[in-house]
Symmetry: C2
Subunit: 314 residues, 2 copies
C-alpha cells in the first residue's frame, strides 16, 4: 500500500533551484530578494467544473500550473515557486505519473520550483498557490488604467472556448482550427515573459480567464473608466467573423492571454518587448472617460454583446 | 444570481493589516521583513475525508485555518498571511456566512490577513496556503534532533481522535470528556505562540497531525536517530489508561499539538516560555542513537504499538 507521503516522495519531490527548503518538512522556506515583494495567488481546478472527466492527466498537470503562472504574469511579476494540493478518489499510479510529468514539464519550462505538496482522498481536484517576485512598487494593478490608454491583448482570443464547445459536440470546426483550439484549451501558454517586462510600460493589466468582456470590466471598474473596443481589431480566427459567433471572442473563458492598457507614447516600446519575447500583441481599443463599454463594428456601429463572462456557479 | 466574485466580495474581502495588496487583483503583494524568510505550506480539507458531512461551517472555517497555523508554528515561525480556495456544490449563503465567520474568528485571534480568495462549484473542499516569516537560519526542521535530546509535547494527545470516534458511535465516553474531545476535534488551538519562541531552544519540531508515532517517526527519519518514550509520561485523559485504548494516544490524528526535541540544558528556558505563552508542555522521552522507536511502560517493559499513523488513503 502506498501512503500519501510516498506519493509526494515519488511524484512531487524534485530538486529545487531557487528555494531555501522545499518539499518534506512542515513548511517550505524561501528568500525574497532585497527590494522585491512577494506576489502570490491561489486557485482550484475541479473535475467537471474546470475540466472534463477523463482529461489527459499530463495536459491537466501542465494547465493547472500554466493558469496560475498567467496570474503572476498579469501582475508584471516573475513566477518562481508553487505549492500543489491534489485530492483524488484513489491512488492511481498511471494518472499520477502522467499528471506530475505534465506539471513538471510546465514548471521546468517556466523555471518554477515546486515547494509544497499535499495529496488526499476525495473527488478529483487540484489546488495551486503560485508565488513570484516583483520590484517594490512596480506591480501592474487592475486599477491603473488611464483615459486615452491603448487597450492591448496578446495572442488570439476565443480559441479555448471554441475547443471546449467542439469537444462537447456543441460546435463544428474545420479540422485545422479544431486542433489549434483544443491545444489552446488543453495546454495554454502563459505570457510570463512579456508580463515580466510590462510593468515599465503598461498602466494596468489582467489575464483573460473568464472572457474578454468580463475581465476588461474588472479593469474598468477598478480604474473608474470606460472603454471603446473595435470588433475587427480583436485578434481571432476568421471562422468567428464568418460564422458571427462572437460569444467565443467576447465571452469565452480559459484564454490566459494578457489584457493591458498603456499610454499611446509607449507603443513602440511595447512592440519591441513583444518582439523580443516572441509574443503577438494587438491594440483593440481605447480607455475613455465615460464609464461604459462599447464595441464598434467596422462601420462604426455599436455591436450588441452579452455583458456577462464565465461564472463557475452560473 | 450571485457570482463567484460577489461571494469573494461579500464574505472574504476584509481589511488587511500587514499586506501591501490583498484580495481583488490577479495576485496579492506582501513585503517580507529584511533578514527574514518566507515560510509557507498548503493543504486541502475534503468533506468525508477530513470532516464529516454536515460539520458546523463555523467550526470548519476555524479549523481549516487553525491546522495550517500549526504547520507554521512547527517551523518556529510566525504566521501572517493566508489564501483560501473553496469548492462548494452550490452557493449557500447561510453556509458561507458561518464558514467565513469561523475563518475570520481564527484569523483575527492569530493575527492573519486573508490575502487571496477563490470560490468555485464542486464537491465541498477547502484549500489553504499559509504564509509566515522567520529570521533567516532560525527555522526548526524535522532533521535537527540530537542524541540525548528531551522529547517534548504540548497539550494532551488523543482527544481529537476520541472525539471523532465518539461522533461516529465507535466509542462511548463519559459526558465531560466527550465535550472536551469534540471541542478538540472541531476547534483545535494551534500552538503558534509557543512555536514562535521555540527556535532558540529546540533542535527539531513537527506538529502532530497524523498521530504521535507517525509524526515522531518523521523526525527520527529526517534526523537519523531513534527514540525511547515513556508511556505514562505522555499527557492524556486518564480514560485512556483505565480503558487501555492507547491507539488514540499513539496513533490518533488531528491533535495539532507540537512535538519538539531540545537539549536537556534548555529545560528551564522551555518551561519559562511555556508558562509565558500559557502552553502546557511535558517531556515524554529521549532521543537515542539506535535508530528505533520503543515505548516503555511504568515497569520498564516495552509496549507493543501500531507503527502506522493516519493515512488519508488507507
Amino acid at each position: 500500500m502506498t501512503s500519501e507521503f510516498e506519493i509526494i516522495d515519488r511524484y512531487f519531490k524534485k530538486k529545487t533551484k531557487q528555494t531555501a527548503l522545499g518539499v518534506g518538512d512542515d513548511a517550505a522556506l524561501i528568500n525574497v530578494q532585497k527590494n522585491y515583494q512577494l506576489v502570490t495567488s491561489s486557485d482550484m481546478l475541479v473535475e467537471n467544473t474546470h475540466f472534463l472527466k477523463n482529461t489527459n492527466p499530463s495536459q491537466l498537470g501542465w494547465k493547472s500550473l500554466a493558469v496560475n503562472l498567467s496570474d503572476i504574469a498579469a501582475m508584471g511579476a516573475s513566477p518562481k515557486w508553487a505549492t500543489l494540493s491534489i485530492s483524488l478518489p484513489k491512488i492511481n499510479h498511471a494518472w499520477l505519473k502522467k499528471f506530475s510529468a505534465g506539471f513538471f514539464k510546465c514548471a521546468d519550462k517556466f523555471g518554477i520550483d515546486l515547494i509544497g505538496g499535499y495529496t488526499t482522498k476525495g473527488p478529483l481536484s487540484i489546488s495551486i498557490t503560485i508565488m513570484g517576485e516583483i520590484k517594490k512598487n512596480e506591480a501592474l494593478l487592475r486599477s491603473g488604467a488611464k483615459i486615452n490608454d491603448d487597450i492591448w491583448v496578446t495572442g488570439q482570443l476565443g480559441l479555448a472556448s471554441m475547443g471546449l464547445a467542439s469537444l462537447q459536440g456543441k460546435l463544428k470546426l474545420p479540422p485545422r482550427i479544431k486542433i489549434k483550439c483544443i491545444r489552446a484549451l488543453e495546454t495554454p501558454i502563459p505570457k510570463t515573459s512579456l508580463g515580466s517586462h510590462l510593468s515599465r510600460y503598461a498602466n494596468s493589466c489582467i489575464d483573460i480567464s473568464d472572457g474578454l468582456i468580463q475581465d476588461l470590466r474588472h479593469i474598468l471598474k477598478a480604474s473608474k473608466v470606460g472603454a471603446s473596443l473595435f470588433l475587427n481589431d480583436i485578434p481571432c480566427e476568421k471562422f468567428i467573423h464568418t460564422t458571427k459567433q462572437y460569444q467565443f471572442l467576447l465571452n469565452g473563458g480559459d484564454d490566459y492571454e494578457l489584457l493591458f492598457t498603456a499610454a499611446k507614447k509607449n507603443r513602440s516600446y511595447i512592440k519591441k518587448i513583444a518582439k523580443k519575447t516572441n509574443t503577438p500583441v494587438n491594440i483593440i481599443g481605447t480607455i475613455i472617460k465615460k464609464k461604459s463599454l462599447s464595441i464598434l463594428s467596422e462601420q462604426g456601429k455599436s455591436v450588441k454583446f452579452n455583458p456577462k463572462g464565465f461564472d463557475h456557479f452560473a
